[in-house]
Amino acid sequence: MLSGNLLWVLVGTMLLGIAAGITGTFSFLQKQSLVGDAAAHAALPGIALAFLLTGQKELPILMIGAAITSALSVYCIQWIVSFSKMKADAAIGLVLTVFFGIGVVFLTIVNRSPIGNQSGLNNFIFGKAATMTKSDLLWLFLSATIIILVSLLLYKEWKLLIFDAVYAKGIGLPIEALKATLTVLIVMTIVTGIQAVGVILMSALLIIPAASAKLWTNKLSSMLILSAAIGGISGITGTFISAIRTGLSTGPIIVLVASTIFFVSYFISPAGQINKFRRKMQFRKQGDVR
């Protein structure tokens, strides 16, 4: 059952989960999780447009298109928030749906064109890891490795940026450049993942492992390791399940594995509900005794 290709796909989604777990943790701590959601949805018009303009469905070309519109959406959100009285949530929601709407417009045009019919672009909505070819996987490996390496290289700087931006600026760190690099890496993670997980659920890979890890620890280094591990495990388990039952999209299953881990952590972790309930009871009792 573990055919050669499946093994490679498993390694690929595991790497993807690890990469997303790491960049997701940084974006989670910056309270930018939903910006990642918007950026993921915004990849759709880029993919369709890249196909329309070049007529090719080579992954690198589609990925470049996706990266451009994804990054543009992040820029749009920042622009709206800083230049109008709109609050971040409305700006994110607006950009997300408008970009996705434009994506659907282009995708419909692609699907109506004779060459577009078999382009398989629709797979980008929910992801289909099983259909990935060797060269697709090569791109995934390369890009995930770059993301992981760059994150580890910039670990100290980002840590300062997140916990004490004022101090970081004081000791002469290039704050804006660091923020921009983080955005670029998040966009890269999204673009890397959409073929396997799809644009709609890609944000789950960024958010859920990080949110689960936060329930276990407050230390950034352990949070990163844990989040990467949860991402990797979700990726590999989800892909495996979807591979043995053909016809299931990979994305939803990976997400469900991750969210199972989240909800288990939500109850049993040190900061979890069971402990919290116990403390609450204790507090009530103390109050009564006095």
């Binding site: 989670f28 409305a90 045009i109 929910f126």
Partner: protein
């Protein structure tokens, strides 16, 4: 006649969402609406699995339950210390993934495909009709009219309470305004709106219609009433312009409507900036004289 029904449906979506969106923006709950629009899929699939029919009524019920469940779960996670954006992200992706999975497992053969739920197909609206009180109209129009009525009734009954609970919830609670009831009542009406509109414009693009027109109105409105009026106008305009643009380019109507919503927002924001800039230069000129 067919075109008439499609345009009317679009108009109704624009107006209904335009009304529902005002308090959504003011309460800073846009992303919860986005989450609900994803999770109604879960509710609809569950309704199908339990009843084994594609009856509109049960779908409305299922979707409303899923919507309230979403709002409740987000609130629960948030109040137990998980930051709000992550709480929203976890809840909607989990329920959406569950919905997609359930469709592939249990509802593969029925007319309930995910892409339809997401993107809608407003062009098919005129063919699915209901007759009620000797009037025959497309099902979508009936549903939208019903939800529009519910939304208007909710606002007429609770307008001043909603206003206060939105502006200053702590003070509202201190004078006995039922803040929690209003929160969940409003979330229910958002779920209804999403379900009624999802059949025609699709679940995700409902959010464009919910957020876009009222966000555009928010940029310049001085009172809530003004915001309501402009929000409805923008919603209606976006749906009509979107429809004809889509027809012209022969592409997705719902997608084009969302794109028009975005265009309206950008044009309004830019013209506001230009007017402000002109005023400033005028003032500085006068001062220099």
């Amino acid at each position: 006649m067919i075109e008439f029904w499609v345009v009317l449906t679009g108009l109704l979506v624009g107006i209904t969402c335009g009304i529902a969106g005002v308090f959504l923006i003011l309460r800073k709950m846009s992303m919860i609406a986005d989450a609900i629009s994803h999770t109604v899929l879960f509710g609809i699939v569950m309704a199908f699995i339990i009843t084994q029919t594609l009856n509109g009524f049960w779908m409305l019920v299922g979707a409303a339950i899923a919507g309230i469940l979403t709002a409740y779960l987000v609130q629960l996670l948030h109040s137990s210390g998980i930051q709000e954006d992550a709480a929203i992200g976890v809840v909607f992706t989990s329920l959406f993934a569950a919905g997609v999975l359930l469709i592939t497992l249990f509802a593969g053969n029925v007319h309930l495909d995910v892409e339809h739920v997401l993107m809608g197909e407003i062009a098919f609206v005129p063919w699915d009709r209901w007759t009620l009180f000797a009037v025959t109209m497309p099902k979508a129009v009936w549903m939208l009219l019903l939800v529009l009525l519910i939304n208007i009734a909710f606002l007429l009954l609770f307008f001043k309470e909603m206003k206060l609970a939105t502006f200053d919830p702590v003070y509202a609670a201190s004078i006995g305004i039922p803040v929690v009831f209003l929160h969940y009542g409003f979330m229910t009406s958002i779920s209804f709106t999403t379900v009624a509109a999802f059949d025609s414009v699709g679940a995700i693009l409902v959010v464009a219609m919910l957020i876009g027109p009222s966000a555009t109105a928010y940029l310049f409105s001085k009172t809530i009433k003004q915001m309501f009026i402009f929000s409805m106008l923008f919603g209606a305009a976006a749906s009509i312009v979107g429809y004809y643009l889509a027809k012209y380019w022969d592409t997705s109507i719902a997608g084009m409507m969302a794109a028009t919503v975005g265009l309206l927002f950008v044009v309004t924001l830019c013209s506001q900036k230009i007017i402000e800039h002109r005023r400033k230069t005028l003032v500085s000129k006068l001062e220099n004289m």
